[in-house]
């Protein structure tokens, strides 16, 4: 069976600096992969390669066997890549519901001329309401994003990404900035979505939550992949412990 996402031999150089060195990994359909590493490991650069914001010097990224090379962000999203960004950026002039409804209307918005002749939004609003309920913030559907606390905006970002019906969801530090209670609750939501069959890559610094919900980890340090496998065995690898946690720490 071929992988849902295949990252092959990615190298990224910025001038003389090699941010990512020959990194490869796969994500299988329905998998929840934790992508971790210390600060400066090149995680964000790798994610930007997958989303199309950074062009790799070498290597390729394939989603469902289709090469994503040269495709702009929106084309990758149209092909099934969902993104929830680290720094949440909702449309501040739309209600929470409309933020999600816009993403749910992808069949209308894929082409501008089709969008011109499409008018009704009831179906997309109903779907948006369902998704807000799924992530637990349907009671603030009519609120404007600037008035919502960070935890709600993180969930809104998640609902908006889900509305696109992604084959693979990239979550870039969704727990960052949340207190432990909020982080645990959101991690539970992420695990629940994965249980429903959605494949995800979770890039996260909150190691306890990553260990709790991710069966498999990929660890990157100084731009190199230093671990890939079941979470427990990866984290017990001395190289990973040394690079990620510091030698001698128990984690």
């Amino acid at each position: 069976m071929s992988a849902l996402l295949s990252v092959a031999d990615i190298t990224v150089r910025f001038g003389g600096v090699e941010a990512v060195s020959n990194v490869s990994f796969d994500v299988q359909d329905g998998e929840l992969l934790g992508f971790i590493g210390p600060n400066g490991a090149g995680k964000t650069t790798m994610m930007r390669v997958i989303t199309g914001l950074v062009t790799p010097t070498l290597g390729s990224v394939c989603l469902e066997d289709r090469d994503l090379g040269g495709l702009a962000v929106f084309r990758r999203v149209q092909r099934g890549l969902g993104l929830a960004q680290q720094i949440v950026r909702p449309f501040n002039s739309f209600s929470a519901l409309d933020n999600v409804a816009l993403a749910a209307g992808q069949r209308h918005t894929a082409r501008p001329m089709r969008a011109l002749f499409s008018f009704r939004r009831a179906r997309e609003r109903a779907k948006a309401h369902e998704l807000l309920k799924l992530v637990g913030i349907d009671h603030v559907a009519d609120a404007m994003p600037p008035s919502l606390p960070l935890g709600y905006r993180k969930r809104l970002e998640l609902a908006r990404a889900l509305a696109l019906g992604p084959r693979l969801l990239l979550l870039d530090e969704p727990l960052a900035g949340l207190n432990q209670t909020e982080a645990t609750a959101l991690a539970d939501t992420i695990a629940d979505l994965n249980q429903r069959g959605l494949a995800m890559i979770l890039i996260e610094h909150n190691l306890s939550e990553v260990m709790r919900i991710c069966p498999r980890l990929v660890v990157q340090d100084n731009g190199r992949k230093i671990g890939d496998g079941p979470a427990e065995s990866v984290m017990s690898d001395p190289l990973v412990r040394s690079a990620y946690l510091g030698t001698g720490e128990s984690g």
């Binding site: 702009a72 449309f91 816009l102 992808q106 089709r114 969008a115 011109l116 939004r121 990404a161």
Partner: protein
């Protein structure tokens, strides 16, 4: 009565012109400081094509097409630059248009083009036609705002980068906004050419670009009724009061400054807040 008809016709042309910029700047968030150039392209195209024998209102279609071609070209620059850089680029296009027109004999140079054929309609009939076009453009704008296209435009105006993350082809949307907006500006220019029957570069300068931007800002960026109201009032005032005509640039610039400082969403936003306040109290 003749003066009132002329005034009303000018006001309706301004409504069409202001709504065309509202589509680009108000709906899609792309600033343009050279919009009068597209109005001018429409006016010159309608003037030349009607002099060449193209019947009214077919020459208006030619005006729309010519303005849309230039709109597409300027729209391409909006794919590379944003915000203040786009403002400077569009302003540059406005000056480029004037510079070229002033130097071209076949466009009448500094003297402009006179004896432009009329529409064939009576003054009242022409007012009716222009008013019908203004109503049609206003209705189209209102429809567009509520369509998925308007929804997507609003998303791009809010945050272009996030719009890409929700799978919007931002480049195509922006180009469509420029093409639609400049085509309508071209129609407004064509209507203007048949209305005054004499055009010169002075009618399409930077002051006109600022004037139409003032109508959009004062009306409320993106608000169709607000922009229609502001276009009607800001066109009538200089024609009623000569002193306003003399200090037009000063007045419009002051209006822009005041609205940006005190009421960013213009008359449209003010009315919306009043309505919401009234609903809450009842």
């Amino acid at each position: 009565m003749g003066y009132e008809i002329t005034l009303a016709t000018s006001m309706c042309i301004s409504v069409v012109f202001a709504l065309s910029l509202n589509l680009i700047t108000g709906f899609c968030g792309q600033i343009s400081l050279g919009h009068a150039a597209f109005f001018g392209v429409g006016a010159y195209t309608a003037a030349l094509s009607s002099q060449a024998g193209l019947a009214f209102p077919l020459d208006l279609l030619a005006a729309a097409a010519a303005a849309a071609v230039f709109g597409f070209i300027v729209g391409l620059s909006s794919l590379r630059v944003r915000h203040d850089f786009l403002a400077i680029t569009t302003m540059g296009f406005g000056f480029l248009f004037l510079g070229v027109v002033r130097q071209q004999d076949w466009l009448g140079g500094e003297m402009g083009i006179s004896a432009i054929p009329g529409s064939g309609l009576s003054k009242l009939g022409y007012l009716g036609f222009v008013a019908a076009v203004a109503v049609a453009v206003a209705l189209f704008s209102a429809y567009l705002k509520r369509s998925w296209l308007g929804f997507s435009f609003a998303a791009i105006a809010d945050d272009e980068d996030t719009a890409r993350v929700v799978a919007l082809d931002v480049a195509r949307y922006k180009l469509l906004a420029f093409v639609l907006g400049t085509a309508i500006a071209g129609i407004a220019g064509g209507l203007y050419a048949h209305h005054v029957r004499f055009i010169s570069p002075d009618s399409f300068g930077f002051v006109e670009s600022i004037a139409v931007l003032s109508m959009v800002i004062v009306g409320g960026i993106g608000s169709v009724p607000g922009v229609v109201f502001a276009a009607l009032v800001l066109t009538a005032l200089p024609l009623w009061f000569q002193v306003i005509e003399d200090y037009k640039l000063l007045l419009y610039s002051a209006l822009l400054f005041i609205m940006m400082q005190l009421c960013e969403d213009g008359i449209g936003g003010l009315m919306r807040r009043l309505m919401q306040g009234r609903r809450r109290t009842t």
